[in-house]
Symmetry: C2
Subunit: 154 residues, 2 copies
C-alpha cells in the first residue's frame, strides 16, 4: 500500500481519515519498518475534529459540508502541515448504512497534498457494505498517492 514506494523515494506521509477511520494507518503500520516513511495521522471522525485538530476552516465546512472535495483537500493539507510530512492523504465520504447530508452510501472524496500542490478525486464505490466500502476507499487512497510519487510507473 505504497509503503515500499515511499521508502524507496525517501518521502514521508501523514494521513487524515474520516471514512476509513484509521484503516489507512492500520494498513501502513502492518508493514515492518514503515516508521521510515509514515509519520502518523489524524482520525477526524467527528466534524469538529476536522476543524479543531486538522484546521479545516469552519466556513469551508459550513459551505460544503464534511463530505466534499473541499473538505478532503483541506484535511490533506492539514495533516501534511501538522506532521511535517512530504504528503498528506485524506479520506471523507459515506460508509453507511445511512446517507449523509444528501450524499449516498459509497460516496468517497480523497485529498492529496504534496510538494507540488493539492489534488483530489471524487469516486463512488462499486460494492455495497460498510466494510467493503472502507476497504475499497483505502485501496483508492493508496492508488492516488502512488500516482503522485516520482518514478512510479505502476
Amino acid at each position: 500500500m505504497a509503503a515500499a514506494e515511499l521508502k524507496a523515494a525517501g518521502l514521508s506521509l501523514a494521513t487524515a481519515e474520516s471514512l476509513t477511520g484509521g484503516l489507512l494507518g492500520s494498513l501502513l503500520t502492518s508493514v515492518p519498518g514503515v516508521s521510515a516513511c509514515y509519520r502518523g495521522g489524524v482520525i477526524a471522525y467527528a466534524t469538529e475534529a476536522k476543524a479543531h485538530v486538522l484546521g479545516v476552516p469552519a466556513d469551508l465546512l459550513a459551505a460544503h459540508g464534511p463530505v466534499s472535495v473541499e473538505c478532503a483537500r483541506a484535511m490533506a493539507e492539514g495533516t501534511r502541515r501538522l506532521f511535517g510530512a512530504d504528503f498528506g492523504l485524506a479520506t471523507t465520504g459515506v460508509a453507511g448504512p445511512d446517507t449523509q447530508d444528501g450524499h449516498p452510501v459509497g460516496t468517497l472524496f480523497l485529498g492529496l497534498a504534496g510538494p507540488a500542490g493539492v489534488t483530489h478525486a471524487g469516486l463512488f464505490s462499486p460494492a455495497p457494505g460498510r466494510n467493503e466500502i472502507r476497504e475499497w476507499a483505502a485501496e483508492e487512497a493508496f492508488r492516488l498517492l502512488l500516482t503522485a510519487l516520482p518514478g512510479y510507473s505502476g
Copy 2:
C-alpha cells in the same frame, strides 16, 4: 470493542495510537453509528508526533522514552484534551520485528485518561508476530477501557 457500552453510557472516546497504528480507530469505526461515541484520534507513529501533536512533554520523552508507562499516560491525556472526549485511550509498545530502546518485542503500555483521572497497564504479549501483537494490544486496550465504564460488569 466497547462501542456499544460507550453508547449505552452516553460517553465519548478519543484514541492515541503508536503500536496499534490506527487499528483501534479502524475497529471502532467498523461499527455503524459509532460517531455517537467516537470522536477520533491521533496515530502518533513518529516520536515527534507524540510531542508535537499530542503534547507529550519533551522532557518526559527524553527521560522515559516513547515506549513507557509515562508516555502512554501522557498520550491518553493528550488525546482526551485534543478531542474534548470523556475518555482518552492510548497504546505504545514494540510490535517488532526489532526490539526498541531495550524493550523486547511484545511490550505494551496502555494509558487511559477519564473523568476520574489517569490509569495505565503494562503488559507483555503472549503471542509472537507483528500483527498478532497489534491485534492482542487492541483487545487489551478495549478491555482496559471497559473496566472504567460505569455499570460495566463484563
